[in-house]
């Protein structure tokens, strides 16, 4: 469960992490503003600033108009139910600090960077020397001396080191105490007067642990905090209807993107891996879509037709991990039939078909008949993504 910014900040406040003075404002509320403020739409998704969800206001009338505008805006699929108003701070430097869970190492991970306010994953790729990451254990938590080592690793010393380290240590406490999956302060601002302030906060709680926290559980039940879920596009809704055609398997959990390469990919980690690998190879997915659990030929066929009906999408990449509970031949039938019913040539439409596993001999016979190259289990998902990207135009 992703908390809204003001909900996360209430938690930071309990741990004495300094924040700019702020409060929620309601539509029509009589305001009196005598210095510049930041108005922040409260939506449970990142990229708010770029989407126009954070505005600056200089006086009362300006703020009134902008609050009304924010509360009527569709921001990345959400219409905010509330606006958080904060004093505007003069920031000298921005930092990033976060704690998340590393599922590979099976341990919490503290992350610090002296370059805040930007995409930390991109920074870690481009300038890894600016990002310090350290695992810690739930039992020993992140004591001050370890937090200090992490911050010092990035070249920070003196007073700043003494100011930042306790905040990172407290953030690790927030992470552990609230069963969070991620807590980030980005940016953490250094003010002219030397004070460090959490300017924005992103916090997500493990859904399975919400019941352990009465305050979070009541937020979850509050239907008024978020305007629905992100609204489905027509394309996503049609995919969901396809998934409901029959009870067999999953074929239709769809998220729409604006690329040119249609994807039909295996659910769970493999689909995320395939999606990321295609992007890393420079491919532009038209959608994210999971299939699994041996869906009917009908569902795969209809899904294929739906994806190919998107303007600009002429190719489909079909990638799954080695399957045991989905039959390769049935997926192959659905893909081929969907392409034929779309009036296209299977050999020219399938950018890659990489599903090894149950009934693969039968599946490969079908692919061969329609001139679709066979990629067996010796072809990695990354390699399949590379082939798909190469064939996507």
């Amino acid at each position: 469960m992703r908390l809204l910014e003001y909900e996360s900040k209430r938690i930071l406040e309990k741990y004495r992490i300094p924040l700019p003075a702020g409060r929620l404002v309601a539509l029509g509320e009589i305001l009196k503003i005598d210095k510049p403020v930041m108005l922040k739409a409260q939506i449970p998704i990142g990229g708010r600033g770029k989407a126009g969800g954070i505005l600056e206001a200089s006086d009362t009338e300006d703020a009134r108009q902008k609050i009304s505008h924010l509360l009527q805006s569709n921001l990345r699929g959400y219409i905010p139910k509330s606006v958080y108003m904060e004093e505007k701070k003069a920031v000298k430097q921005e930092f990033f600090m976060g704690v998340t869970y590393d599922t590979v190492a099976k341990a919490p991970l503290a992350i610090f960077s002296p370059a805040g306010g930007i995409d930390i994953e991109e920074l870690a790729q481009k300038q890894p020397e600016l990002v310090c990451k350290e695992h810690f254990t739930v039992a020993s938590r992140l004591p001050l001396h370890r937090a200090r080592e992490i911050v010092a690793e990035t070249g920070i010393s003196g007073k700043l080191l003494l100011g930042l380290s306790p905040l990172l240590s407290k953030l690790a406490d927030v992470f552990l105490d609230y069963d969070a999956t991620v807590v980030e302060i980005n940016p953490l601002g250094l003010m002219d007067d030397g004070q460090l302030v959490a300017l924005d906060c992103h916090m997500e709680i493990d859904d399975d642990a919400v019941f352990r926290h009465a305050d979070i559980a009541s937020m979850e039940k509050d239907t008024g905090r978020v305007e629905g879920e992100k609204r489905m596009s027509d394309f996503e809704r049609k995919a969901s209807e396809i998934n409901d055609l029959d009870h067999r398997g999953v074929a239709g959990r769809m998220i729409e993107f604006d690329g040119n390469l249609g994807l039909i990919i295996g659910g769970g980690g493999a689909s995320l891996t395939a999606f990321d690998a295609i992007r890393a190879h420079g491919g532009r997915p038209a959608n994210y879509c999971e299939i699994g659990g041996n869906p009917s030929v009908l569902k795969v066929k209809e899904l294929t037709k739906l994806i190919l009906s998107k303007p600009g999408v002429n190719k489909i990449a079909v990638i799954m991990n080695v399957v045991s509970n989905t039959r390769v031949d049935l997926v192959a039938r659905g893909i081929v039939k969907g392409i034929l019913e779309s009036g296209k040539n299977p050999a020219r439409t399938v950018a890659v078909f990489r599903i090894p596993g149950a009934w693969e001999e039968e599946g490969f016979k079908i692919l061969s008949k329609y001139g679709i190259p066979i990629q067996g289990r010796t072809v990695s998902i990354d390699e399949a993504a590379r082939i798909a990207t190469k064939n996507s135009d």
């Binding site: 009917s296 030929v297 009908l298 066929k301 039959r327 049935l330 039938r333 659905g334 081929v336 039939k337 034929l340 039968e362 016979k365 079908i366 008949k369």
Partner: protein, 75 residues
């Protein structure tokens, strides 16, 4: 009797089939409803043919060996 699909063809030889009243095994066993009762004869449901999972339960249950299944993607 036969029917068209991109991948699977199912034929029932009506001269050897003993009829639904005396048997009806294929209608009962097929997990994806490829056979349906049509009077006393089993009729092949065309729209379901693509879903045939090649389990051969119909063939095993059919004592007079009236059913044949062909994979159209094989040479």
């Amino acid at each position: 009797m036969s029917s068209a699909s991109e991948f699977i063809r199912v034929d029932v030889n009506m001269t050897t089939c003993v009829g639904i009243a005396r048997c009806g095994g294929c209608v009962r066993v097929c997990p994806v409803s490829i056979f349906q009762k049509n009077g006393d004869a089993p009729a092949v449901v065309e729209k379901n043919l693509d879903e045939c999972i090649l389990c051969e339960l119909c063939i095993q249950t059919c004592k007079p060996e009236a059913i044949t299944i062909r994979k159209l993607y094989e040479a």
